[in-house]
Amino acid sequence: MPRGDVARRTECCGVTMLDEHAFLTLNALYLKKMASVGNLAEMSGLPTDQVQAMVSGFLERGWVLDIGSELLIQSEGMAEVQSYYHETYSDLSQREETAGWYARFEAINRQFIKLVTDWQQGGGDPRAEERVIATVDRLVKLIGEIALLVPRYVGYVRRFERSVTKVDQGDPDFVCTPTVDSLHNIWFEFHEDLLMILGKERTE
């Protein structure tokens, strides 16, 4: 792939910014800080060779650092991601419907983290597991409500579904083990993403 295609920038509203695929890839690394090309492809849903090509471009620009088997995002890369968020979603936080939506998210978010803790402390209690999955289902529904505003959020739905399937197959690592694409990981990355698009700060 020619270098110009790697992380091409587009003009939008007079501002130069990342194209969507470049954003999806770089944002995945932004949310993980450290990840492999394979992880980024898994998170962005883009083909590995395309992600690899974009990553080469990021490396040339000094946005990311190659530390062997994984990549580490650099402050320049973080700035790119932040400016994309800012340019693309600045009007979202002003909308009334997002405030109500976010309040509902917060309610199920509280429930989710409590349930994951119950699940861990109960040694993987099936009742707690059912509830964790049911809460993920509720979040998926909730994401559906703002998918029109943020179409790329279907990517999170896809990841949640994949990991729920893993849990259903009896692999408990996919509930909250941080080293795989667990429900807890996806949930927190989604929350982080949400805070970015709404311009909010984490409280806990």
């Binding site: 409590k114 197959q169 990355e189």
Partner: protein, 846 residues
């Protein structure tokens, strides 16, 4: 309706049974839940009455897509019996009968239908309920809960819409409200909300509600999640699910009422005390849903001493009968206790060990059953280093720097780092890091993975940091508000004291304490005495002999402390760690090229081995002769080039003089340490009886020549040929070892190094490129060779047989070897405890 089609013997049996008529030993017919309720009913426990629709009915439903002939009539008849028994009426007054409907498969699995409570309400029954209880608010609460559950579970969605629509109606009910007005208002609000949300409303007729719920249970057997699980776990698709229909009791009716979950012992610590939560005025799943703040068992027992004394008495008896810690769902309705469900409780690793030890001591439950509840994984998890008692006591006397919430147990020390990127850097340099953050998010994950311990200033036991730390098994203290972190300056204030990045701290992830400096840790891992008791029981059952691997005198002590009866050591490793390997190789090169004598090396070997023999005390020691072709040796020197120049090094007896000098060095070490047992030398890669014979001749000649006590000779087999000729090789050996990983590597044609790491073999097995995991189970190709090795017991009864295992010892592997008759094993030092448990369980299993 179609005639019952499933056929066979079962076709003539009833499809519906009362709890008191169901056979609790038939979970395949009544499901796990149904069998449990039948058992509890038979034991005379206070269980609300009910009946079970069998899995046979489910199978017929799945075959025909409709209820089997006669099922609905049977259900109606049993409802009638239930009405008589409870003196209530289904769908009417004066006291209405409400029921719960649950799925109950023979094996619990995800995706099965959740419970529907409060089924049986139409206008007539609702008004009667309000009249009978004198509480319109109660009726409205019960009805709206039912609508929510029925919507989500049977109609598939709309629970939230119902809750939203019902909310204002529930809030507006005044003390003297009219039941008819309240019900009709609520009912039409729910109906409208559901028509909007899912285009369908809840049937008015309670019988129809029940039929829909039963159908939903059957349908859930084929839900996507359940099918996924069964496919993956290789569970048959035609087991089917039973349906449990039970009279409702109300934790939300009158006083004193409530609902709770109790554990017969604390599932976190294993402490033998009734543990759990109780929610006054709560119904059904309120407690487990975690949406409100329940009381502890102690608080509840103070409030309702009689009820909780009865609960304690009943559950203790149940625990003994069941032979395991139980998780019990119960409800109190106006002071009367009901048990709704009883099952084995999930527990943490620490609790599992404590509980098993307590059960063994009580002797009420057979050891086989007790040990079956502890897994090797739990032992690995519980083996954590701990601070030395005296150091911890001293640190406490001088005061902790700060106190937070203990979120993930374990005691560790390290240097403070406040940034995740730097935590990765510092940890990569070999330093242990205590990552200290205001709070954590996914952006800190890489730092948390690199860190040894984690501290956060904000957040509770459910915060991101807490969940991640527990999942990683790393000690973690959260919510330590005494910490103020300055990320720019890379320092922090804790309890008024300033710490710079790089200063050492020690944290206790159970108590939440943070101490200054590095507290010394001991090898005496957590759960000490409890674990020893369990393992003693396992040893008694298995009567196996474990040779733990050790390379230094210190490791010898640790390995024996963990319960190994003997020591296995590799001379090559001992020489490498004492810095003698390079010199040895130079000497061997010169020996091979120009015949330089090796005699002088016996003293070096004696010097490095003597401390190990001293540390071993009376324990037997087997030394593996240096294997110049091993992966380990290759890594230390320029292996491939060296072996290309000196191919003789590749053969077990390529350098006879080298074997002789190792025999001499070993004999000297044994003599000088005053070791009471004859030393043993084993030679790797033996494939022929002639080699074994020659090895023995060399060893005898050398000890005779030097006037030393004899050395026992062992052959370590690593090849299919060696295994096939084992009976003949054994005739010339004192010990025969079969090296499992080496043999497998040759059978599969993979390099042995592939067996050492999880990936890529893990993934390869997951993709089912290999039909079984060779690290965890013995396949036919291995069994044939093991069978051949085992016959050497007949050809050479004097020769001992041992199995050399490397890496984690799985229970499956242990069972395989145990039942093939093997009792002697060499294992990694870290695996001594897990192996003791695994073989104990293997011995106790039927």
């Amino acid at each position: 309706m179609t005639p019952r089609s499933a056929g066979g013997v079962l076709a003539d049996l009833p499809l519906v049974y009362r709890f008191e008529d169901a056979d609790s030993s038939q979970p395949e017919l009544f499901g796990g839940k149904g069998a449990g309720l039948a058992r509890m009913t038979a034991a005379g426990l206070p269980v609300p009455p009910g009946f079970i629709i069998t899995t046979e009915a489910c199978r017929a439903y799945m075959a025909d897509g409709t209820f089997p002939d006669g099922l609905i009539e049977d259900v109606r008849r049993h409802l009638g019996t239930l009405e008589e028994k409870t003196r209530r009426r289904f769908g009417g007054g004066p006291t209405p009968l409400l029921v719960s409907v649950r799925s109950g498969a023979p094996i619990s699995m995800p995706g099965m239908m959740d419970t529907i409570l409060n089924l049986g309400l139409n206008q007539q029954a609702a008004i009667a309920l309000a009249a009978a209880t004198g509480d319109v608010g109660f009726m409205a609460d019960v009805y709206s809960r039912f609508c929510r559950m029925f919507a989500d579970i049977v109609l598939g969605d709309g629970g939230d819409a119902v809750a939203e629509a019902a909310g204002p109606h529930l809030a507006a009910i005044s003390p003297g409200a009219d039941a008819v007005t309240v019900f009709t208002g609520l009912e039409s609000a729910c109906r409208r909300a559901l028509l909007d949300a899912v285009g369908e409303a809840i049937p008015d007729d309670p019988h129809e509600q029940l039929e829909r719920a039963i159908g939903a249970v059957f349908e859930s057997w084929n839900s996507r999640r359940a099918v996924t699980y069964r496919r993956h776990q290789k569970i048959a698709d035609d087991l089917g699910t039973a349906v449990v229909i039970q009279a409702m009791v109300f934790g939300n009716l009158g006083q004193p009422s409530g609902t709770g979950v109790a554990f017969t012992r604390d599932p976190l610590t294993g402490e033998p005390t009734l543990y759990g939560e109780y929610l006054e005025g709560g119904q059904g799943e309120d407690v487990v849903a975690g949406t409100s703040n329940p009381m502890t068992m102690r608080e509840a027992a103070e409030r309702l001493p009689d009820v909780f004394a009865e609960l304690k008495r009943l559950t203790q008896g149940l625990e003994t009968a069941h032979g395991d810690v139980l998780d019990i769902e119960f409800t109190v309705e106006q002071g009367k206790l009901y048990l709704l469900q009883v099952r084995s409780a999930k527990r943490t690793a620490e609790a599992a060990i404590r509980i098993a030890a307590d059960f063994l001591r009580d002797r009420k439950v057979p050891p086989a059953q007790v040990l079956a509840r502890v897994s090797t994984g739990q032992i690995r998890q519980a083996e954590r280093p701990a601070f030395e008692d005296s150091a911890l006591a001293a640190a406490r006397r001088s005061g902790a720097l700060g106190n937070g919430i203990g979120a993930s147990p374990g005691q560790v020390s390290g240097v403070v780092v406040v940034d995740p990127d730097r935590a990765v850097e510092v940890a990569a340099g070999g330093e242990s890091v205590i990552l200290t953050r205001p709070t954590t998010s996914p952006l800190d994950l890489h730092g948390m993975i690199a860190a040894t311990g984690i501290v956060t200033a904000l957040g509770g036991a459910t915060s991101h940091a807490a969940v991640v730390a527990r999942a990683l098994g790393k000690p973690c203290v959260v919510g330590c508000t005494a910490v103020t972190i300055d990320l720019e300056r890379r320092n922090l204030l804790i309890g008024g004291r300033a710490l710079e990045e790089g200063d050492a701290v020690s944290i206790d992830g159970a108590t939440g304490e943070i101490f200054a400096g590095r507290l010394p840790t001991t090898q005496a891992e957590g759960s000490g005495t409890h674990l020893s008791e369990i393992l003693a029981a396992a040893d008694e059952a298995a009567r196996c002999r474990f040779f733990g691997r050790a390379t230094t005198a210190e490791q010898v002590k640790t390995t024996l402390d963990r319960g190994a009866q003997a020591i296995a050591t590799r001379l090559g490793d001992v020489l490498a760690t004492t810095g003698h390997l390079e010199k040895l190789l130079e000497l061997l090169v010169s020996h091979d090229a120009s015949g330089t004598k090796l005699d002088a090396f016996d003293e070096i070997i004696a010097d490095v081995l003597t401390p190990l023999f001293v540390a071993a005390g009376e324990a037997e020691v087997v030394v593996r002769a240096v294997d110049l072709s091993s992966d380990e040796a290759m890594e230390l020197v320029d292996g491939p080039a060296l072996l290309a120049r000196h191919p003789r090094f590749l053969l077990p007896l390529g350098l006879p003089e080298f074997i002789a000098v190792q025999v001499a060095g070993l004999a000297l070490a044994a003599e000088r340490s005053g070791h009471p047992r004859p030393p043993q030398l084993s030679l790797r890669h033996v494939t022929d009886p002639n080699e074994a014979e020659e090895f023995r001749r060399i060893a005898r000649a050398e000890t005779l020549r030097r006037g030393l006590a004899p050395v026992l000779v062992g052959a370590t087999l690593t090849s299919p040929r060696g295994a096939q000729l084992a009976p003949a090789i054994a005739r010339h050996s004192d010990l025969l070892w079969l090296e499992v990983r080496g043999l497998q590597a040759k059978l599969y044609g993979f390099p042995a190094s592939l067996w050492l790491t999880g990936d890529p073999l893990d993934e390869y097995v997951r993709r089912r490129m290999l039909s079984s995991d060779p690290r965890a189970s013995l396949d036919e190709s291995m069994r044939v060779l093991l069978g051949s090795v085992a016959t050497s017991r007949i050809s050479a009864p004097a020769c001992r047989l041992g199995i050399r295992l490397a890496g984690p010892v799985s229970e499956e592997l242990a069972t395989g070897f145990y039942w093939l008759g093997f009792r002697t094993f060499a294992i990694d030092a870290d695996e001594v405890r897990t192996a003791r448990l695994a073989f104990g369980k293997a011995a106790l299993a039927e």
